[in-house]
């Protein structure tokens, strides 16, 4: 019970502090510039935030559209965490996955429908997987830390994506930094229910993957081995588990999951790879995994929250005079901080018990 209650309380606290801080910032800004107050109090801000995220079917569709990649990147952080590793490379992995999906669609545009999305999804998975396997292998067999390597690979992925987009698969019909569009057979179903929000079958796919991950972790020998390695490497060795092998598998799978972000973006939304399409989904994924306690179900719930914040905060920018994109990012950061403070809380409890 406490396991669920604590993150929820943390989120509420973070939102409250964030909204009050935003309001104070607005108040200061109006005072300094000598304007009269526009009456944007925290309660109004919260209403705009909620309306922006859930107000209309379109709004809700957009929220779910942002939720989809966050589920995948959240899982991509949570799985290695269960094996005792910290994957900061989801951003690079999703870039590689999306690039691979778009490349498949651009190079073989004539593949027919049911086969094409499967091919592209496999490419996306493989692209991300490669980017996860490298730091996994380096950690397992060479002992170099995955945090450093995943960060470095993020930069390499970004550079590689620019190069491929601008020089190899460049879309000749536009000035935008994007690849040629994928063949028509690649595009996946968008739900009409959401009045034009680009929400596609990528969402049910992400949910199914979360369910599978739950199954993997708690119902299979591999999942058990992963959790044993995450708990204690000496115990894993004593039990005849090869921790290195498990680490490579966990990081590869995680990379693949992040890579699948490319399915929603390339096949379900843009129909091509656009440079910089991700507003740091990979990094928000760390927050999602943290808030979701590295459990698949928790990740889904946390992804929905951050998806809603992302959508709602965007509307705050549009609908108010003074709240800018920056302030809405501060709001998200404060929610994250109070989630992290949860760990601080546990630490203080422990000290108190001494």
């Amino acid at each position: 019970m406490r396991k669920v209650l604590q993150p929820v309380l943390a989120v509420i606290l973070g939102l409250a502090v964030g909204l009050v801080a935003t309001w104070v910032a607005i108040w200061l800004a109006t005072r300094m510039s000598g304007e009269s107050s526009t009456g944007e109090n925290p309660w109004d801000l919260l209403q705009i935030l909620a309306r922006g995220a859930f107000g209309t079917r379109y709004d809700f569709g957009m929220t779910l559209f942002y939720t989809t990649p966050l589920i995948l990147t959240g899982l991509a952080v949570a799985l290695p965490f269960q094996a005792g590793m910290f994957n900061i490379g989801a951003e690079g992995q999703l870039t590689m996955g999306a690039l691979a999906a778009a490349a498949a669609g651009a190079v073989w545009p004539n593949v027919p429908w049911p086969l094409a999305p499967i091919l592209a999804a496999a490419a996306a998975f493989a692209g991300g997987m490669a980017w996860g396997a490298i730091p996994g292998w380096l950690r397992a067999r060479r002992g170099s830390h995955e945090v450093i390597n995943t960060i470095m690979l993020n930069f390499i992925a970004a550079g590689l994506a620019s190069y491929v987009t601008l020089y190899i698969l460049k879309n000749p019909d536009t000035q935008n930094p994007e690849t040629r569009p994928v063949g028509a057979g690649y595009l996946i179903h968008q739900f009409a229910l959401f009045q034009g929000a680009p929400l596609s079958t990528a969402l049910p796919m992400a949910l199914a993957i979360a369910a599978l991950m739950s199954l993997l972790l708690w119902r299979t020998v591999l999942g058990y081995d992963i959790r044993v390695v995450g708990q204690s490497e000496p115990a894993a060795r004593a039990a005849g588990i090869d921790p290195g092998r498990i680490r490579i598998i966990a990081m590869s799978l995680a990379g693949g999951l992040a890579g699948l972000v490319g399915v929603g973006e390339v096949l379900g939304n843009a129909g091509r790879f656009r440079l910089g399409f991700s507003p740091d989904f990979g990094f928000i994924g760390i927050a999602v995994a943290l808030l979701g306690r590295n459990r698949p179900l928790g990740v889904v719930a946390a992804a929905l929250l951050f998806g809603a914040l992302h959508k709602g905060a965007g509307d705050l920018d549009l609908e108010t005079d003074h709240v800018t994109r920056d302030l809405s990012q501060i709001l998200q950061a404060l929610v994250l901080l109070s989630v992290c403070a949860d760990g601080l809380w546990a630490w203080m409890n422990k000290r108190g018990a001494r």
Partner: protein, 512 residues
């Protein structure tokens, strides 16, 4: 003088300390006379260390009083206790290994010149005087890591004397010592007490308190169950006070009937050190453990025992660059990974149950599965068979008397003895043909030791070949059908059951 005129060096009145819902100390009353050696004995988790850590200022009591020489005192941190003349030698030494004895002793209290430079000459004069006064000889300028464990302990004691401690608390001081080093330690402690120091000795070894103390306090479940004069008590009485019931201190071991078939064979096993050119961790080790016998490896810890286990269980690991042959149940395992060896039917009781043997944060059920998850009774096509696991685990907990019998409880919530019983249950229940048991009764209470020893003998009589690695001489002598002595990575002696005395064994362990 009467007792009223010389107040106790340390007196505890109703000392209570809770960790969460558990009362680690519950109304502890204790009285230590000045200038005596006072033993505090009890099972693991009885609260001995907790009580002493409160005296030393590491924990703050929830209730109760600490009186030092009759004055009630409250510490904010160990530095307050140190300033009041209380010192503690921890079970694991707190020494900076690459530094010299002098630097370790003066650490945090350095005599200085010009305010910044350590005045080693002054420190040395002071230390030599101390060392002469108490007869504690130490080589001052060698790195501590090059010194024997017994000397390292001497340095720990000098550290306290250097800070003018007059009440010395020693937590399980003999865990890593040879019998000879142990005797030397107690001779030194006696000298210290003769010169007026008060010494509190925390231990779970009956023989030590019987041989070297004046008074003994027995603790169980956070309470004091007895305070006795050493001269007027017996080991049996102490054991009963510790466990709360009568225990047999000696178990009956019938003669072994070893079979011809070997369980574990090791021929010419050598293991190079971690760095090129460093000392070999194992040199030309050869022995055979037949099925139906117990082969004990005696030795002071750190003489290659851990490496021997690693080399047998993980021969293919690049960290074990070995030469030689290892055969398990007749099969050469040189190129195998640990999982294959385990799947062959090899049981393993690791020396460090908290890190190697258990997942302390996980449930008993998951712990029971550890190392056995690939057995076909517990998994099919990669999926765990939860119902089977739960049923078998329940039976095992009952059979091996693990308490509490709650599969969903975390392993951390179990006492040390029950944690070890859980490991024993897991490794013995599938009736292994070969079993490696490292320090199987470390930190386990007297009652559980009796139980574990019985199980080990029973496994032998069922036909398992057991390799027993232990630094407890009693354990080696009671259980082993053959005894090997390891010293600096070599097997330096071999004895049959009953053919060696404890003294002789101790000398071999010390390398002479």
């Amino acid at each position: 003088m009467t007792a009223a005129q010389t107040p106790a060096a340390v007196e505890l009145r109703g000392l209570t300390k809770h960790f969460g819902a558990v009362a680690a100390n519950d109304g502890v009353n204790l009285c230590v006379e000045p200038g005596t050696i006072h033993g505090i004995i009890g099972e693991n988790g009885a609260g001995k260390s907790t009580a002493m850590k409160m005296v030393y200022g590491m924990f703050r009591p929830d209730a109760g009083q600490i009186l030092i020489h009759g004055q009630p005192r409250v510490w904010n941190s160990p530095s307050d206790a140190i300033a009041a003349g209380i010192g503690m030698v921890h079970q694991h030494f707190m020494l900076a290994a690459p530094y010299s004895a002098i630097d370790n002793i003066v650490l945090a209290d350095e005599p200085r010149r010009f305010g910044i430079v350590i005045d080693r000459r002054k420190a040395r004069r002071r230390l030599e005087q101390l060392s002469q006064q108490y007869g504690l000889a130490v080589e001052w300028s060698r790195p501590v890591e090059d010194l024997p464990v017994g000397v390292q302990q001497r340095i720990e004691i000098l550290k306290l004397l250097y800070r003018d401690a007059h009440i010395l608390i020693l937590d399980e001081p003999t865990a890593v010592l040879t019998p000879q080093e142990t005797n030397a330690l107690f001779a030194n402690l006696r000298k210290l007490s003769d010169q007026g120091k008060t010494i509190i000795l925390i231990t779970h070894k009956l023989r030590e308190v019987m041989g070297f103390t004046q008074r003994i306090t027995v603790m169980r479940n956070g309470k004091v169950t007895g305070q006795v004069e050493t001269a007027s008590t017996s080991p049996a009485e102490l054991a009963t006070l510790m466990v709360g019931r009568k225990v047999t201190l000696d178990i009956h071991v019938p003669t072994a009937q070893p079979r011809e078939a070997p369980a574990i064979e090791v021929h010419g096993l050598s293991l190079a050190g971690a760095q090129a050119g460093s000392r070999h961790k194992l040199t030309d080790v050869s022995f055979t453990v037949r099925r139906g016998e117990i082969v004990g490896v005696a030795g002071v810890e750190g003489n290659g025992q851990s490496e021997l286990i690693e080399a047998i269980l993980h021969p293919a690991d690049p960290r074990c660059r070995t030469a030689g042959v290892v055969k398990i149940l007749g099969r050469d395992v040189a190129a195998w990974h640990g999982s294959k060896t385990r799947d062959l039917g090899v049981g393993f009781i690791p020396e460090d149950r908290q890190h190697q043997g258990l997942l302390v944060e996980r449930s008993l059920r998951e712990n029971f599965l550890l190392g056995r998850q690939r057995e076909c009774q517990f998994s099919r096509a990669g999926f765990l068979r939860h119902r089977r696991i739960a049923a078998t685990a329940t039976r095992a907990l009952e059979q091996f008397d693990v308490r509490p019998r709650d599969l969903w409880r975390r392993a951390r919530d179990l006492s040390g003895g029950n944690q070890q019983k859980l490991v024993i249950a897991r490794e013995f229940q599938f009736e292994p043909s070969a079993l490696i048991a490292a320090q199987p009764t470390r930190g386990v209470d007297v009652g559980a030791i009796e139980f574990i020893h019985t199980q080990i003998v029973r496994a032998r009589d069922r036909g398992a070949g057991l390799l027993l690695i232990s630094s407890e001489l009693d354990e080696i002598l009671t259980l082993s059908d053959r005894i090997l002595v390891m010293y600096e990575g070599r097997i330096v002696a071999e004895f049959r059951r009953g053919a060696v005395s404890e003294r002789e064994l101790g000398l071999k362990m010390g390398g002479s």
